[in-house]
């Protein structure tokens, strides 16, 4: 009998527990997330939200790889090794083998928009904090829009065929989405190319104003001088030559970054933070490494490090082609025996200091020992992670020289070009007219091997892509100059037209 009582008692207890907890019967709150409503109302939350916008620059689809390596693969500065099979399609300029920055960039833009929308709701923020958040968010939004529009649209200085302008720029959204209603209903059309550049100008001018002329929080964060430097490049693409000169001058006179020459320039590439950087993407933690498959280091070299060339490193998928090897006088050079030891090999080089950034790789991968680019060699202190310089100060000289040429200040252009050549150990030249422009562009090509500028330099000058290995002759009017907009974005948005040819 006692047993029954006990059993009944325990059942009754359970029942009452069930009933008493009825209010919270189905209440479970996540512990590793917070409600989106009111998430961004504290200064700490704003800082954290801003970090995420920066962190998306690390994506392999953005500066982690594609904006540098896919860009160079599309252009005429290198060839693939088939070691892992990556970048072959891009290097062949096959239809659809192209950039895919859309998703990550727009996600980051939405986060920046949410930060900007939330500025007025932050409790206990100082005016300086508000200015910094707004300035950095706009710097980042400007950068993401610029990287989108230069990829998915023609560049204002060279828009193919007036009749096709209609396909335009890219959708510009400046309000954040955090509710399902807006997410499901907003179908923004493509703005015109110039409207997109106007938005980028606006964001970067605001950033410049809000962040001031100081060095800010470090080159891994947006700053006023970094905004000037970026504006210099945006204006170069926009064809605002006077603005290029003004912003380049402002950037050069700032305390952010140092223009290096000679051995210091080479050593700059061996430092965790390149002193030339005006803005760079920071890889701070080992877990942020892109890894052996898609990191810039792995893409460019099969070496693990420069101290022991026999150690198996990355894939070395994309290497300089004959043109680039010729520019720097690169050829394999055996230093000792046995020949099977990769440490017994290096390259011949000409006087250009940038030739120091190339050497022979190893025989670990299928293609064997190749001449490789060593700008990215795990400088952050852990495998396959390098901070990525988005804007180096040296670019300002090249931007200004080119703008001065366009402004018919050929002598200023030539002076600046020759001064720059001296920094790289090269003799002065005497050129004028188109030959001068070509020389400036050639200097850009040499300066930015592996840094993704060449493809856009060709594109903004309306030039095609011509290479022998692989055999490609891609005229500027070919549709493959532009990537397809992700098909889902076209299928799901009746207001958007796909790029020509896709």
């Amino acid at each position: 009998m006692k047993l029954i009582n006990k059993a009944l008692l325990s059942l009754a207890l359970t029942g009452s527990l069930l009933v008493s907890s009825c209010d919270s019967l189905l209440q479970v709150d996540p512990r590793q997330s917070i409600d989106a409503n009111g998430a961004l109302t504290t200064p700490d939350a704003m800082n954290a939200a801003l970090n995420s916008v920066y962190s998306k620059l690390r994506s392999a689809r953005i500066y982690g790889r594609d904006l540098f390596a896919v860009s160079d693969a599309l252009a005429d500065v290198g060839q693939t090794t088939s070691n892992s099979g990556r970048l072959i399609g891009e290097n062949n300029n096959q239809p659809g083998a192209h950039f895919g920055t859309w998703q990550t960039a727009y996600f980051a833009i939405n986060e920046a928009n949410l930060i900007l929308d939330g500025l007025s709701k932050v409790e206990g923020a100082s005016a300086a904090q508000l200015a910094r958040w707004e300035g950095e968010a706009k710097f980042l939004r400007g950068l993401y829009y610029f990287d989108l529009v230069k990829v998915y649209s023609y560049i204002p200085t060279a828009i193919f065929e007036p009749g096709v302008i209609g396909q335009g720029g890219i959708p510009v959204v400046t309000e954040g989405v955090i509710t399902s209603g807006a997410a499901l209903s907003r179908q923004t059309p493509r703005s015109t190319i110039l409207e997109v550049y106007a938005q980028i100008y606006k964001d970067l001018e605001d950033a410049k104003r809000l962040l001031g002329t100081g060095t800010g929080r470090g080159v891994q964060y947006g700053s006023g001088p970094a905004a000037s430097a970026l504006l210099s490049r945006v204006a170069l693409y926009r064809g605002d030559w006077a603005k290029v000169v003004a912003e380049s001058t402002a950037a050069l006179s700032s305390g952010v970054g140092t223009v290096l020459s000679g051995a210091a320039y080479v050593n700059g590439w061996r430092a965790p933070v390149n002193p030339e950087s005006m803005f760079e993407v920071r890889f701070a933690l080992a877990e942020e490494s892109i890894g052996v498959n898609e990191s810039l280091q792995s893409t460019y070299t099969a070496l693990l490090n420069l101290t022991n060339k026999n150690a198996q490193g990355g894939w070395g998928d994309f290497i300089p082609n004959a043109t680039v090897r010729g520019l720097f006088g690169l050829a394999p050079l055996q230093l000792g025996t046995p020949a099977t030891d990769n440490n017994n090999w290096d390259v011949t080089r000409n006087a250009d200091v940038r030739a120091q950034l190339f050497t022979t790789g190893n025989t670990v991968r299928g293609a064997g020992r190749q001449i490789e680019n060593t700008k990215f060699m795990s400088k952050s202190g852990f495998a396959y992670a390098d901070n990525v310089p988005v804007i180096r100060k040296s670019e300002m000289h090249l931007n200004r020289a080119e703008a001065n040429y366009r402004l018919n200040n050929e002598s200023a252009a030539l002076t600046e070009l020759n001064a720059f050549k001296a920094l790289r150990g090269l003799p002065a030249v005497t050129l004028s007219g188109t030959a001068l422009l070509d020389e400036i562009l050639l200097e850009r090509m040499k300066e930015f091997i592996g840094e993704g500028q060449r493809f856009f330099d060709l594109k903004r000058n309306g030039r095609g892509i011509v290479k022998t290995t692989p055999a490609v002759n891609l005229a500027f009017d070919d549709f493959r100059i532009l990537p397809p907009i992700p098909q889902r974005e076209v299928d799901g948005n009746p207001n958007i037209k796909q790029n020509r040819g896709y």
């Binding site: 996540p30 998430a39 954290a48 996600f107 499901l184 701070a284 933690l285 692989p470 992700p486 799901g492």
Partner: protein, 1014 residues
Amino acid sequence: MRKILLLGLTLFLVNAMAFAQGRVITGTVTSTEDGMGVPGATVLVKGTTIGTATDIDGKYSVNVPAGSNVLVFTFVGLISQEVNIGNRSTINVVLESDVTALSEVIVTGYGTQPKREVTGAVSSVKGDAIQNLPLQSFDRALQGRASGVQVRSSNGLPGGAVNIRIRGVGSINAGNEPLFIVDGVQLNNQSNAAFTQSNPLAFLNPNDIESMEILKDAASAAIYGSQAANGVVIITTKKGKQGKAKFEFNAFSGETQPMKFLDILSGPEWYGMRRDAFINSGVANPEANALSNMGRLPSNWTTLTRPALDALGLALPTYDWQREVMGAGRLNNYEMSVSGGDDKTTFFLSGSYNYQEASFRPVDFERGTVRIALTHQATKRLNIETNMNLSTFQQNVPFAVEGSFLGNPAFSASAVLPHNAIYNEDGTFNTAIAGVLGQNVVLVNSYNSGIQRTNTAVGNLITNYKIAKNLSFRSLFGLDYRLLQGDNYRDPRTPDGAGVVGRSSVQSDWRTRFITTQTLNWNKTFNGVHNVSALAGVEYLSETREGISGAGIGFPTFQFRTIQSAATPESVSGFWTGYRRASAFSSVNYDFKKKYLVTVTARYDGSSRFGTQNQYGLFPSVRVGWSLVEEEFLKNSSTISEMKFRASYGLTGNDQIGNFDARGLYGGGGNYSGSAGIVPSSLANLGLSWETNNTLNLGIDYGFFENRITGSIDAFDRRTKDLLLSQPILWINGFSGISNNVGELQNRGLEFELSTVNIDKGGFRWNSSFNITRIDNQIVSLYSGLQFLPANPGIAVGQPVGRSGEGAIFAAEYAGVNPATGRPMWYDINGNITYLPLAADRRYQGSSLGTTFGGLNNTFTYKGFEFTTFFTYEYGGIGGDGQYGFLRENGTRLTLNALREVNDRSWKTPGQITDIPRNVTTNGGNETRGASRNSGTAALLKYDFIRLSQLTLAYSFKPSLVSRIGLSRARIYMQGVNLWTYTDYPGYDPEFTGAGTGQVPLTKSYTLGVQIGF
């Protein structure tokens, strides 16, 4: 359990015996099933009410009055026998089991029901049918055993994932897993192992299973409401039997073997193939280039002639990497059980040890289990019961479960260039491996190490209280607790560990699930013809899961392999998640003379997973049946022994989505420059609710010739509405998708089950059982009138959704190779030939979901010998096989080995009709301005197969013989699993799920076993 209940019942019925004078007849009743005594069998003197029941050992003694000369022996589940006494005083009978067993009892939702009265679509698989199969989890053993249940192993990892689909695929983005219930505890069978696949259902020793019931139609499953949309599998474990303690020892041992080695090229063959590819591409020095690809170009090659170089290539050696990493594996299983009890308490105790190696080293599975089942009749009214399943299993982890990783032996073994030596002449590992797979996989897998451990406790405490004669109360408290631990070490001597100087990764993951079910049962018969029973209950479930994981890099030497020796913590992470469910349910059964049967059920479920506006839902069902054999006109039919028409309709829900999918959240993530970030992770959907399934089921149960032929036929139309679809969101709006209730899916099918006793003569018996299912699966509608999903055009109206909701295959049709040039061709949308098919040329080709499947079992028994063959089959699924895809490239894109049959078929001369293009080396192995050779349907394969899943030869010794050495039972057997497969599949095996790249294929196995009872 069944026998105990019946024993009690029988004793009760024949209590009023024992009187009169006459002869005393004694004897033993045994069954052919196990040769053991049958306790509780009824022995009745024909034409009287005089009788007795057999004791625990099956012995009886009965007084037969003068004038009576016939004894009737009956026992449920066995065929009754009438025996003439004659002048004997001892009569021993052997009762044959009633294999067709329509009189058996079926476990249904929150109760049991005689099979005769079941009006839904329920399949039952007895534990005996899957006994001693060398399979780690019971879900794998269900393959081919029941109609409507489609089972596919995900791969050959022992204890790996199993893909089980009951009546098709009902969801695209929510889960398609059925609800598994063990002893009343609803399990979460989601696998969260970080380093390999650990099937949570492998916690249970399949030999501890008494029976498995599969509730297939929505009406049968509806009592489980929002968990039941994909069907319900109810597992009943073995329970104690009254009587003196019975011991059973069971052991089997054997080995696993690869089912197949791929026939790949030798070193010289690969050289020749590559040389010809360079010739085809017009490249100068083809011999030198081919040798260079193989890392065998001598440094003085410019001084050598082309024939000399060619001779070098044709003299290259060949090493068999497949046979180095794949081979026989050990397989052992030992278990012991004791069961017994008295009239108040029964117990069942068992312990087991299972070990199995995969065909790829070092992958294995090792499990120990302990099981306790106790029942105690505390008072006349109160019965308490507990079942406890404790288990731990651990698996040596592979380099990767799947994928084209260089260190993955299942990928690299067949793809590494064959001229590479595995070992140097001094016996050390060769580390200079030429080709794209520049790692020695044998080295990698002998240096790396890792273990995944799963500790599980599933148990319950049940109280039954008989409130009144017709009314009882049952209270169940259950626990499903699982701890996953894992560690994985990338040795610094391997390429993947070298860059980081060793990496140790660890994982701990706890899942705790509490469930309580309180039910009231009531039944009554009115006027002897109206039988009514009813059930009402409430249930509450709470689940939490949390885990931590981390990795460290930088190890002093390779001997230091645990994370505390790491110089740098690389990552640290953790998570917490949980959900709750509250439910009330009821069901009412009514029948009139067991002739007309009606069941109505309803469940009201609330779940924290759904939007605040839609947290509760109602899931009703109705089932009706008409048992024709109870009608007067069939009662005396000698032909038709069973005939029942069934119809049911019900509503069930699917709640298999993330715990917080309805919430708009900011989560941690996006750290930058060493400080923490937060990121908007999901959009709120306050209206998010369950996916609902409604199924109309029509069925017939039939039996002929005293149930020598039995079976059932079912037709169903299963509609899933308000699909939990991840509705795509434009990326420009900052998100990829939102869980929303949109769209409709349909599964229509026919199921056919047949069991026959073909021969039963002179001790020879031949039983067959066969089942076949045909299912048509298609999307009925999406949203906003869309014909296909923008983010995935494979999800399209009118098309099947594939086995995992990945969508139909949407690809341009391959047209073979241009006989004149050897270029691969495809059809464009107008049926014209094109070399470069575009997106617009894609057509729907079918899906990975097989449309027809089933099994065929044959058992032959003769005088203790037993021979069983069991075939399973599946037909109608198509798809890719990543491993085959890589090998089908024939070494043209990457320096990988190739299949001999592919290379033999490659185009070589003008006019040749074939499907494999000519080999080229330029453009990543593709023709200029041509699509890649595996594009479109070129590399699609049919997944069809017929497999001899089981072959068993067993011999049971006569009880009288083994009793001399103190045994009650002895049985020995030989068994083979997956011995033969009929398929024209060119890859390892058509049975897998996923991409098929670098997956460990299924194995065959041979075992020898012994079962001893004492």
